[in-house]
Structures are given as structure tokens and as C-alpha cells.
């Protein structure tokens, strides 16, 4: 894997050098953008998707003549899904490889670790795959968030429920950083929308038996059940809801519900389940169609997920900021990013003075006949939500 990767970057470098000899636009050396990604290890599948996003973005930017009259070139390493390795690699990128700029790695955990490095060297970092709010609220000046925060993952579920006159909500979550933040945010959103929170409980990571927690939920009898999940727990909860005959009028999960495997594992029992996602292929963002086409041409048969689009979109943001700053100076690029208010293939981008994302929209889909149909927000919705979710006994 790693050798293949090296020869790939080698090839890319060779191509860039070759291209440089003909194209007047790149008479100067390319702009070097450094990043580490999880190409092996736990997050490999996700990191590789993000990697393809970065690669495709560089290709497209260079086809259009680059930026500031120069081509861009990624210097990429594999952090093996380890935060400590990521830290070492960003040090190396900045001090030894002397990259001009950096882009973020995959995951909140690794972004949190490497954010101290780019901060130290005052080098701006657009971080496409980190949605934990705290990373951006620690006074760091050179990190910028691209996707929506953990706190708003279930905003769609709450809003749709309130609009349909539902009154009560129960919230459960895995007891780790990201889902906990989702629960805090959901409680706030529920209050804002006039929903009464009737039950909140966390379960440990790796939990497989939800009998007791679901028995309590059945007794609380909420109109809505929101679950701040990853993947395995989302599957187990859905399955055991049927076993214990728990019948909220709406039931939504955060992470994991959007994977095709979710439906493959649960089959018909996944019908009516709502899920939150940062991005879906059919969203009508500018350039999204071209992105999809180019992606399937460039990487035939390879996985495409929101991580790919996020990588591409994050890179678009950086390139636009370089263009507007007219320079590679860290401070100037930082100011340019803070002023940006644009749409990428990944959706809206605008950050507050802390670098915290305020424009990107989460969407909510519902599994209908084996397909994810976007049902929220209204302006992006492709279909109507099937409401209310029928009780298990009547399906």
C-alpha cells in the first residue's frame, strides 16, 4: 500500500515537473501543500476517500492553470490513523519538506493533535474532516472548520418533529466525545423548538445489549427518539427496538445510518429510519455534478463518500483563499479565509472569527424503499418524509 502510494506521489511529482516544462503558467515551482492522511489503520477507508478528494482537487486546479500562476502539489504521508504519528508528520512537512501550506488530516482526534503544530508555525490549516467544536474554540488562530459541528447533527430531526406538532423527545448516546457533544446540542435545539426532553441516557462504547435502555424508553414513550451513534450501535439499537416493540413516531441516528451497509445489514427494518449526513451525492451544490463525473472517471469503481467531497471542498476553500490573499503569507491567507463566504461542492463555507463553521448545512435523509431520500432542510429536500413511522407490528 505504502509503496504503491509512494510511486503514485512520485509519478504525480514527475507529471508536475514535466507539465512545468511546457506550461508558461507554472514557470515557477509548484505551491507545496502538506498533509497526513489515514491511509492505513482504523480510519483507512475514510482517509483514502479524503485522499482521493485532495488528489482530484489538485488535478482540477492545475488544469485551470493553478493559482497565483503556479501549480499546486500535495506532499502526502500516511499517519496510520495515529494522532502521534500525525504530529510527527506535520512537524516534518513544515520544517523539513518546507511545504508552503497545510491541509487537515482525517478525524477530530488527529486534527486536534496536529492543530498545535501548524499553530506553532503560524501556518493556516483548512481542516475538512473535524467536527468537534472544542478544537476550534481553544483560541487557535490558524485552523478552519469546513463541516457542521457535532451539536447540530440532529437539528433536522428536532425541527421536523416540532413542525409536525410532536411534543417529546428521548436522546441516547455512546459515551464518547463526539456523541456527547451531539446530545448537548440536541437538548438545546429541543428547548429552542419547544420539544420536551423526557429521557437522556448514555451507554458505553462497544455496548451490544440495549434491552434495559430501550425498556426505559418504551416506558417514557417519547414522540421522537434521537440516537447519537457510530455504526455498530446504530444497527443494534434499530434491531432491538423491533425486538422490544419500541415505537416512536420518528427515530433518527447521527453517524452510521448513512452507510449503505446499514441498509444491507438491517434490510426492511431500516425503513423509516432518519439519518444525519454532511453531504450526499445528489445535493445540488455548484460543481457537484462535475465533481461526481470526474471522480468516477479518475477513480473507477472506488468508494465515494462525504469524505471525498469534503477533501475536495476543503481544498477548494484553500485555493480560493490563496487567490484572494494574492500571496502565500500565513497571516494574509488567514484573513482571506475569515472573509470567505462561498459554496463548494461540499456546500456552504463561512467561518466565525474563531474559524468555526457557520454556513455548512447538515442534511437529514430517511430510508425509503432502500434509498436515502433527503427530507431536510426543505430547500434541499428531494422528497417528503414518510410520517409517522408505523409501529413495528403494522409493517
Amino acid at each position: 500500500m505504502r509503496t504503491a502510494f509512494r510511486s503514485m506521489t512520485g509519478l504525480a511529482t514527475a507529471l508536475v515537473v514535466l507539465a512545468g516544462s511546457w506550461a508558461p503558467a507554472s514557470a515557477q515551482a509548484p505551491i507545496k501543500i502538506g498533509a497526513s492522511l489515514s491511509l492505513t489503520g482504523t480510519y483507512a477507508a475514510l482517509g483514502q476517500n479524503q485522499h482521493r478528494g485532495y488528489q482530484l482537487c489538485a488535478k482540477h486546479v492545475n488544469e485551470k492553470g493553478g493559482v497565483l500562476g503556479r501549480k499546486i502539489e500535495f506532499v502526502l504521508y500516511d499517519d496510520q490513523s495515529q494522532p502521534a504519528t500525525g504530529v510527527r508528520l506535520y512537524e516534518k512537512l513544515i520544517t523539513q519538506d518546507k511545504v508552503d501550506l497545510v491541509m487537515g488530516p482525517y478525524s477530530s482526534a488527529i486534527t486536534e493533535a496536529v492543530a498545535n503544530v501548524n499553530e506553532k508555525y503560524k501556518m493556516p490549516m483548512v481542516a475538512p474532516m473535524a467536527s468537534t467544536t472544542s478544537i476550534f474554540k481553544k483560541g487557535r488562530k490558524f485552523i478552519f472548520m469546513v463541516q457542521s459541528a457535532a451539536e447540530v447533527y440532529l437539528e433536522g430531526l428536532v425541527e421536523m418533529a416540532a413542525k409536525r406538532g410532536l411534543k417529546t423527545i428521548a436522546i441516547i448516546n455512546e459515551d464518547t466525545l463526539f456523541p456527547k457533544a451531539t446530545v448537548q446540542g440536541t437538548i438545546e435545539l429541543a428547548k429552542k423548538n419547544g420539544l420536551q426532553v423526557v429521557f437522556v441516557e448514555a451507554y458505553p462504547k462497544g455496548n451490544t445489549d440495549f434491552s434495559a435502555i430501550l425498556t426505559k424508553i418504551r416506558a417514557a414513550n417519547p414522540d421522537v427518539l434521537g440516537a447519537a451513534t457510530y455504526f455498530d450501535d446504530a444497527v443494534a439499537i434499530t434491531r432491538q427496538m423491533k425486538e422490544l416493540n419500541v415505537n416512536p413516531k420518528m427515530y433518527g441516528v447521527t453517524v452510521g445510518g448513512d452507510l449503505p451497509t446499514f441498509y444491507q445489514l438491517l434490510g426492511k427494518n431500516a425503513e423509516f429510519v432518519y439519518g444525519a449526513t454532511q453531504w450526499e451525492v445528489e445535493l445540488p451544490y455548484p460543481g457537484a455534478k462535475e465533481f461526481l463525473q470526474a471522480y468516477s472517471m479518475e477513480f473507477p469503481g472506488r468508494d465515494l463518500s462525504y469524505h471525498s467531497a469534503g477533501g475536495y471542498g476543503g481544498c477548494q476553500v484553500l485555493v480560493e483563499a490563496i487567490k484572494r490573499a494574492g500571496s502565500l503569507d500565513g497571516e494574509k491567507i488567514r484573513e482571506a479565509v475569515l472573509k470567505l463566504d462561498i459554496n463548494t461542492v461540499y456546500g456552504g463555507f463561512k467561518v466565525d472569527p474563531d474559524g468555526f463553521q457557520i454556513s455548512h448545512k447538515m442534511v437529514m435523509f430517511q430510508w425509503q424503499e432502500g434509498k436515502k431520500v433527503i427530507v431536510w432542510p426543505d430547500e434541499l429536500a428531494a422528497g417528503k418524509a414518510l410520517f409517522p413511522t408505523p409501529p413495528w407490528t403494522r409493517r
Binding site: D175, V197, V198, F199, V200, E201, A202, Y203, P204, G206, N207, T208, D209, F210, S211, A212, I213, T215, K216, A219, A220, F231, D232, V235, A236, R239, Q240, K242, E243, L244, N245, T261, L265, L266, G267, N269, W392, T393
Partner: protein
């Protein structure tokens, strides 16, 4: 933001606890058997359970036949694997210090998990065969868990009958009580070790096959069952076979009731607190160790 706990809710989780407990008992009986006969703590027990679960998954996926019939395949298959492991490796550490057997079986476990990841990937899989429940008044009885319960009880009773009544079973119990005396009485102890490891693995495999129909499976699922089985046999009295039954049921109930009255987060902690209490008050376990 909790809820008021009603008798119906207690009834519901007691049922869940008993349904889960029967499975724990059966799986832990296997671990108790190996420990009783050989004084070996088999850390790979849960891993063998995982292999049993995959046997059922592929059986169902490729052949599409009733997954419960796969017990007829997974149990003999894991029996053979158990015999192979005992014959090739574990017999070397039977009389060695306990750390040796821990290290060896831990190594076997890592190897088997990695081979499984390599062969089947670490994707989560599930056998979507029997979902939903029977509704009885305010109670919901999960179909797949009920069937698993029935199988677990049946197999456990069979294992007990076997240990009590058959010649081989008596030889196993004799070896468990005193290897030397058993040897003097003409029991082929090496052979008994093979059978014990095989039987234990078959029980783990049965557990895996039944679990596969209830929850989604993946290569690292086994570890939890190793820990739980260990807890069960220490609760009941290490090497004490009826103790494993009692311990399993107790663990199932304690987990569920503490999840109900406290939270799911602390239910595991409560189980371990119970373990510490038992060790403090009755160091040999609830039914005492070794006696069979």
C-alpha cells in the same frame, strides 16, 4: 430525566437477563470445563465463539438455510479445532505455570482474530433471520433471543447429562477432581484433555452460532465473551460446573437490572463490583471451587 420504573419494566428486563444469562452459562461452562480439567485459562474461548458465529453467517449467507441448523456444522467444526489446538499446542502448557497458558491462548486468540480479519475483513455482518418479538401483555419477547435461550438451555442440560451419566463424562469429572487418582484408575488423561478442549470449543461455537442470529458480528466480538465467561466461572466457583450455570444467570440478571435501575454505563462496573464482593466474602466462588 429518568422514568418511573414499573413492575412491567422489571419483568421485561428480568426476562432479558434470563435470556442472556442462559447463553452466558453455556459458554462459560466450556471455559469451566477446560479450567477444571487442565487448570488452563483459555483466553481464546471467545475467539472460538466468534468463529462459530462466522460459520453460521456463511452458512446462512451462502446456502440460505435456517441458521439454527448450522449448529450441526459449527459445533463439530470447532470441536475439531479445539482438539487440534489442544493436541498441537495447549498440551505443552498444561503443567506449566498459569502465565504460560495465558500467554499461549492469548497468542492463539490474536492469530485467529487476525486470520479472520484477513479472510472475511472487519466489516460488521448480521444474520437477518428472525427479528421482532412476541407481544405478551406489556412484555415483548424477542423471537431470536427466545430460540437462543431454548437452544442454550437444551445444550447445557445435555452437557450436564453427559458429564453425569456417561462413562466419558465421569472420566472428565474424575480428571477434574484429581488427575493423579484418575490416572491410577486407568483414565487416559491426555485423551480426556482432548475431549474436554473439544467439548468446550463446541459449546463456545454453539454460543457463537446463537449470538450471530441475535446481534451483528465482527472478528473482534469474542473478547467480550471471554471476559464475561471468566467473570461467570469466578462468580460460580472456578472449575465448578453447576457454579457456571448459576454464575451465568446471575451475570445476566445483574447486568440487566443495574442497567434498568442505574444506567447501562455502570452495568459492567456493577458486575465487576459483584465479582470483587464474591471474592472478598467467598473466595472460592458462590458454590465453591473444584467440587463436581
Amino acid at each position: 430525566m429518568g422514568v418511573i420504573i414499573t413492575p412491567a419494566m422489571v419483568g421485561q428486563v428480568v426476562i432479558s437477563g434470563l435470556l442472556a444469562g442462559a447463553l452466558y452459562s453455556m459458554v462459560a461452562l466450556g471455559l469451566a470445563l477446560i479450567f477444571g480439567v487442565m487448570r488452563v485459562i483459555n483466553v481464546a474461548h471467545g475467539t472460538i465463539l466468534m468463529l462459530g458465529a462466522y460459520t453460521t453467517f456463511w452458512w446462512f449467507q451462502l446456502l440460505g438455510i435456517n441458521p439454527y441448523l448450522s449448529l450441526l456444522v459449527s459445533m463439530p467444526l470447532m470441536f475439531l479445532l479445539g482438539v487440534f489446538l489442544q493436541r498441537s499446542m495447549v498440551h505443552r502448557v498444561v503443567d506449566a505455570p498459569e502465565l504460560s497458558s495465558l500467554l499461549l491462548t492469548f497468542g492463539i486468540s490474536i492469530a485467529l482474530v487476525n486470520v479472520t480479519q484477513y479472510a472475511f475483513s472487519s466489516d460488521v455482518r448480521s444474520v437477518e433471520f428472525l427479528t421482532g418479538s412476541f407481544l405478551v401483555g406489556p412484555l415483548a419477547l424477542s423471537k431470536s433471543r427466545l430460540v437462543s435461550f431454548a437452544f442454550a438451555v437444551g445444550l447445557t442440560l445435555f452437557a450436564f447429562w453427559f458429564l453425569q451419566k456417561t462413562k466419558l463424562g465421569k472420566a472428565i469429572r474424575a480428571t477434574s477432581q484429581s488427575r493423579e487418582v484418575a490416572m491410577v484408575c486407568g483414565v487416559n488423561v491426555q485423551r480426556i484433555h482432548l475431549y474436554a478442549f473439544g467439548m468446550a470449543s463446541a459449546l463456545a461455537a454453539a454460543g457463537g452460532s446463537l449470538v450471530a442470529v441475535v446481534v451483528a458480528i465482527q472478528p473482534e466480538m469474542g473478547q467480550v465473551y471471554t471476559f464475561k465467561s471468566f467473570l461467570v466461572i469466578v462468580l460460580g466457583g472456578a472449575g465448578n460446573y453447576p457454579g457456571a450455570l448459576l454464575g451465568g444467570m446471575l451475570l445476566g440478571l445483574v447486568e440487566q437490572l443495574s442497567s434498568l435501575f442505574l444506567t447501562t454505563q455502570v452495568s459492567e462496573a456493577v458486575a465487576y463490583v459483584l465479582l470483587v464482593l464474591v471474592l472478598l466474602l467467598r473466595p472460592t466462588g458462590l458454590l465453591g471451587g473444584r467440587s463436581t
